[in-house]
């Protein structure tokens, strides 16, 4: 089997890896980089537990992506969201609303929520449910997850003008 030298920029840090052809992005993150927040769920792109963001806000299934195909890309996992010990507003909303039961789907849910809110800052409940349709919560705690996404949207919309005024990134 062929091996390939690739570079991944994960949560802002650059990793040079030598991976076999059949290495998925999920395995590269978990086994090579050592970040276990992206989860293995179904392995076939249905549950969304392995969701990561590529180049900012594009959500993909890491289990159905070859590591080699991500050479040179910026990958964001849930572990890269908190800044200086302060949770991302989406993470804070999931904690505040107790939108977590066993927690296995949570990193994927949080990342997909960030992707959704980047496209649509004020989603309706229906739009939230459609936006998260590729993320399955086996504990079935969807009501609180929807609450959390709505709170995160409110927080981020309130923060955005203040951050802009301060010259920071929205």
């Amino acid at each position: 089997m062929s091996k390939h030298a690739i570079t991944l920029i994960v949560n802002g840090d650059e990793y040079t890896l030598n991976v076999p052809a059949n290495r998925t992005l999920l395995e590269a993150l978990r086994e090579d980089v050592g970040l276990t927040d992206a989860k293995y769920g179904c392995g076939t792109g249905e549950c969304g537990a392995c969701t990561v963001l590529v180049d900012g806000t594009r959500a993909i299934n890491a289990c159905l992506t070859l590591a080699v195909a991500m050479d040179g890309k910026e990958i964001t996992t849930a572990a890269g969201l908190a800044m200086d010990g302060v949770l991302h507003p989406v993470q804070q909303a999931f904690a505040d609303k107790a939108a977590v039961q066993c927690g296995y789907c949570t990193p994927g849910m949080v990342l997909k929520t960030i992707s959704l809110l980047a496209q649509n800052a004020n989603p309706t409940e229906q739009e939230i449910r459609k936006g998260l349709e590729g993320n399955i919560c086996r504990c079935t705690g969807y009501a609180k997850i929807v609450d959390a996404v709505q709170q995160a949207a409110r927080t981020m919309n309130a923060e955005t003008p203040a951050r802009r005024a301060a010259g920071g990134n929205a």
Binding site: M1, A21, L64, L116, E133
Partner: protein, 290 residues
Amino acid sequence: MSTRILPEFDLLAPQSVTEALDLLATYKDRVTVMAGGTDVLVAMKSRFRTETVMILSGISGMDYIEYDATAGLRIGALATVGQLLDHADVKKKYRALWEAADIFATPQLRNTATVVGNLLRASPAGDCSCAIYAIGGKLLLQSKTGRREVDVDDLWLSYGVTARMANELAVELLLPAVGKDTRTAFQRVTRVNEDLAKLNMAVRLDMSGKICKTARVAMGCVGPTPRRLTGIEGQLEGREITEAVLQKAADTVASEISPIDDIRSTAEYRRDVAGVFLRRTIQQACAGAR
């Protein structure tokens, strides 16, 4: 077999179309071409085995979707299903394709799966495939010796088999320009949205006032490849789409399809709902969505 670890294979990662064509000329049918990979990798995690995979992700400039009022819609081989949703001309002028993209799999898969890959998978259940079949179009295939166009009507030979030859790379899909009198619609039957279709269908009606001049009707999951229902098209063409015309189409569609029992549905159910959804899809197209 594991859904976590892929079987072993050698990987080719060309950085240009020229390099990809050279590799195809050398490897021919010993290489599996992969764009988004959402079908190939799932198949490999199940039973499919291949010695060599060629990924196209390193080739830049193939992920375009461009509309021109004369030429039509050009979709590059690496353009994703998700990109269709963000394209205003697709939403406005190729409504059936936009609707198929909107319910296609999940957001994460839409961000990875390619439109051209959906065609080349040659599955009878492909949602974008069904919409494109109704709209009509041409797939541009390139090899070291030249280029040729394959009409979507001639693309699918049997389940999983297309007219693409082993030394050819699909580089672009071209959909015809459509006017203001062209109306298209798409509908799908599933248990939950994430499922593959039990049945899907798309129509394209080219109207002249109230009269349907020409019709293209495509249905999926009712045969080994997506089907064109030419008998139904004949019933619609040259007529106003009245209740009587709709009723006759709904009553006769079962004779034009050959569905089977499988994991997602039964032949009996598919025959039953085909008429209902044919009527709804035509009505949806007539209601003004293009």
